[in-house]
């Protein structure tokens, strides 16, 4: 976390999305923009996009947050996860040439309603906390490989080259991190 954004992160981004949905709160939008736009730009640039494309996707992501704020359901997703999926979907559309509207709709398959289990449902804060805890339990070297693979979509060979590691080590670290995560996140729904 960065000091200059402390004021932002000490509040709950989920509340800002809800404020936008409830009363088109422009202050809440500015706060979300300040925190997420620069990070979405970084995310896009990590996957090989130019700074301009990163900036465009960041802008469009936050505008989508504004338009679709009413769809945000804190019971289903943390604000970070929801905004992440919006940026991811815009990136998928960009990669697939806009030949067809909403190709990322494939990713929306996971939005199928699950049966209600009110007694066991986690709040978004609990869910986010659990993911954070799971991540913190994974050794740093495994997290790095996980980031490069998951987040940046790099092939195993590319990661090995970048980190100057044997291919086998990359593969085993990734496998370890994945199974660890899966185990730690097992009950997350």
């Amino acid at each position: 976390m960065h000091d200059d954004e402390k004021a932002v992160t000490e509040q709950n981004p989920a509340d800002w999305i809800i404020a936008i949905a409830a009363r088109r709160d422009r202050t809440a939008f500015a706060a979300l923009f300040a925190f997420y736009a620069p990070r979405i730009k970084t995310m896009l640039m990590r996957t090989g996009a130019s700074a301009d494309v990163g900036e465009d996707i960041a802008q469009e992501s936050l505008l989508t947050v504004w338009r679709k704020a009413a769809y945000f359901d804190p019971k289903r997703a943390s604000a970070a996860a929801w905004i992440y999926t919006i940026a991811r979907n815009l990136r998928i559309d960009l990669l697939r040439n806009h030949k067809r509207a909403k190709l990322y709709a494939l990713q929306e398959t996971v939005e199928i309603e699950e049966p209600e289990r009110p007694d066991t449902a986690l709040s978004s804060a609990e869910r986010a906390e659990r993911v954070r805890a799971a991540l913190s339990q994974i050794p740093e070297d495994q997290v790095r490989v996980l980031q490069l693979s998951f987040f940046e979509g790099r092939a195993h060979g590319e990661i090995a080259e970048k980190l100057d590691l044997p291919l086998g080590t990359v593969k085993s670290r990734l496998r370890l991190a994945m199974s660890r995560l899966r185990h730690l996140l097992g009950d997350l729904s």
Binding site: A58, L63, A70, I83, Y84, R88, R100, L106, V110, E111
Partner: protein, 211 residues
């Protein structure tokens, strides 16, 4: 529906992060539409994506970026009902977005139907319908072959694959699937690279190579 074969964690993570190509994403999405366990895993990976996003070092936006965004803020959307169970010909929902060709015979007991995936690179997506008892020739792949079963079942060295099951075969796999007795086996396949046929039965699959 009891599903025993699922995509690997690496595959589910790649789907969740949007780094999987469209052809294979379609087969994974088809499995997800049938498998609550894997939907749960994908949501967990999306939460992971959110956490990783929060942890990224910010890159400054250009001057005036926020003002430009603010100037574009229009009316938020009202919530519209989303058809959750839009199905096409009883096939799982993800396929509904794609144009399907007509069924064509490609060998004894085997029909093939192309699925138009525009951005497939070196990858073909199609449905296969094989009559009960059909024995496909022993073959191996030069790339990956991902399959999701809709109806019926087939077996090969690695087990039985029934409705909802996901078969993630790569170049290390050499198999000759046999369709179970009873009903025809219908599945969706994303085939990357080519197929290397083993033995004279390979003639049966020959038309597939030209797909």
């Amino acid at each position: 529906m009891t599903i025993t074969h699922h995509p690997s964690d690496a595959t589910l993570a790649a789907f969740a992060s949007g780094t999987l190509d469209e052809a294979r994403s379609l087969v994974v999405a088809t499995h997800l539409s049938l498998c609550a366990e894997c939907r749960k895993a994908v949501r967990a990976f999306e939460h992971l994506g959110g956490e990783l996003l929060d942890e990224l070092t910010p890159t400054s936006m250009s001057a005036g970026a926020l003002e430009r965004a603010m100037a574009q803020l229009g009316q938020p959307e009202m919530i519209l009902p989303v058809p959750l169970d839009s199905r096409v010909e009883n096939f799982p929902a993800p396929l509904a977005q794609y144009d399907l060709g007509s069924w064509r015979w490609i060998g004894r007991g085997v029909q093939w139907r192309p699925v138009a995936v525009s951005s497939a690179e070196n990858c073909r997506v199609f449905m296969l319908k094989a009559a009960p008892g059909t024995r496909l020739p022993r073959h191996r792949h030069t790339g990956t072959e991902w399959t999701c079963v809709f109806e019926g079942a087939f077996r090969h060295d690695l087990g039985r694959y029934g409705p909802g099951d996901f078969d993630e075969a790569d170049e290390s796999v050499e198999h000759n699937p046999v369709v179970e007795d009873g009903v025809p086996c219908i599945c969706l396949v994303a085939l990357q690279g080519g197929i290397e046929l083993q033995g004279w039965m390979g003639r049966l699959l020959q038309p597939l190579i030209r797909i």
